[in-house]
Symmetry: C2
Subunit: 292 residues, 2 copies
């Protein structure tokens, strides 16, 4: 298949590579040409604009930072829409607001372009190892057509519902992981301050009802004081901003999400935005009392 | 072994029965004699006071509601201490403040009584099926002596550290489960209000990094609107009160725990204290919009 990919960052580059290695013809365009360099000798076709790419591919994947970036690539000058042919499929794998995903779906439909929102979880490691969780919103027939490509990038691929539903599932994921990290930071810091080895607490709790992958993985990294991302604090902050904007729009209260967002504000504001969000535990430690 | 058991409630009764079925000689005393009735034809010895029981047993288990109840049974009039012989082991499996557990350990040591704090997680079902997680604080040699009895009641039995450490681990467990339920309630209510089937979101997230036993089990029960306990909201409220009192004593902030405790206050205050704590989701729903 002729496959376009836009957004060759930490996540996008390994995802595009999985498509290439499976034998698809890869088409690339990048706002930052430096991200194209690792693809120089791969046979991938480099385009001068999204519009030019759109004319020659069956499907375009986008994996960029936020909603306005997606809009720019799809609907901006020399964007996908300008070069698109009827039947083109656009799959946005970025994490953006559900409302923007629904709006893009409507605007692309007016140009006979099919759209899926398909955000992912699993981080850089999941992208490298093709073990991402991919949460998809859109029409079932389009989903089935693209599913073989998703399967090259992720191991858990689900159609959640109509346009925007993938982003809603991703929002739920970010609530659970954000608040989950916050609660774990509180628990392990509580144990340590109580004079109890937090490693023993983690080990005991793994066997019971408090088991979570966050306790298992992030718990170990908190014990190791390993704050390298993983998933950067500023990105989690951005994702919870999207969730809280949606909550305000819908008239919902999300108390523990809001509390965690405040703590991420303080973490990023302290100059630790590039650390993993598990660095939240440092905010909770009594001043002058670091494990390391 | 001659084994005493005090506190034959929802949890304690099946736990005592496991000891009996393993061939131990069971000795009982109860503040509420009605709780003794189901043990009438079991061969268990009924005592007139904790002191009388203490004279004839090797070990006493207590499983009562809160710290003052444990103190009363152990150190009150006709309490365990009054009848105790040197070498008696007292094992408190209630959930109480770590500071009280440490204090009990010290006061019992003055009477040559060994003490373990050994709170559990897993709820009534875990008690019935002998699959409790048992988190123990105290001396290693006493723990090893009692371990075979613990193994009759639970499947994950850990010595966490010195006196009080079991209660600290339990506090951490209650932070993770309480905040975990709150975050899940926020996420599933967010999905539903967004017009997305929360069952699809749960299913998709089970395969990824947001996996937890809370998502799997409590998530399904939230979808089923099954608010029967499980674990009652007023008991979770009590446990988080203990955690937050300890936090104040130690000078720690626990933002997401405090937020969850506030929500439990509102749930219990709305007359739903006997519901499972997963009923937190009802607090978040927009007024007049119930799933059922």
């Amino acid at each position: 298949m002729q496959v376009g990919f836009i957004g060759l960052g930490l996540m996008g580059a390994p995802m595009a590579r999985h498509l290439l290695h499976a034998g698809h013809h890869l088409h690339l365009w990048a706002r930052r040409p430096a991200t194209l360099v690792p693809f120089a000798d791969t046979g991938a076709v480099i385009h001068q604009s999204p519009a030019e790419m759109a004319a020659t591919v069956d499907v375009v994947f986008t994996m960029v930072a936020d909603g306005p970036d997606v809009e720019q690539v799809l609907l901006g000058p020399r964007g996908i829409v300008e070069g698109a042919h009827p039947g083109l499929v656009v799959v946005d794998m970025s994490t953006i607001a559900p409302a923007i995903a629904r709006d893009l779906n409507t605007r692309l439909a007016a140009h006979d372009i099919a759209f899926l929102d398909a955000p992912v979880s699993g981080g850089e490691r999941g992208a490298r190892e093709a073990t991402l969780t991919i949460m998809v919103g859109g029409a079932a027939d389009i989903f089935e057509r693209i599913r073989p490509l998703f399967s090259l990038m992720g191991k858990s691929v689900s159609l959640i519902g109509p346009a925007g539903a993938g982003q809603v599932a991703k929002a739920c994921n970010q609530i659970l992981t954000g608040v989950g990290v916050m609660a774990l930071a509180e628990a392990l810091n509580f144990a340590r301050t109580s004079g109890v080895d937090p490693a023993n607490v983690r080990q005991a709790l793994l066997g019971g009802f408090a088991y979570s992958r966050i306790l298992e993985n992030h718990g170990q990294r908190m014990l190791d004081r390993d704050f390298t991302p993983g998933f950067k604090a500023w990105m989690h902050q951005k994702d919870l901003r999207i969730v809280l904007e949606e909550a305000q729009r819908m008239g919902l209260m999300l108390p523990s999400t809001a509390t965690t967002a405040q703590a991420l504000n303080a973490l990023v504001g302290s100059g630790h935005g590039e650390d993993d969000s598990i660095a939240l535990i440092r905010l909770l430690e009594r001043m002058g009392e670091a494990w390391v």
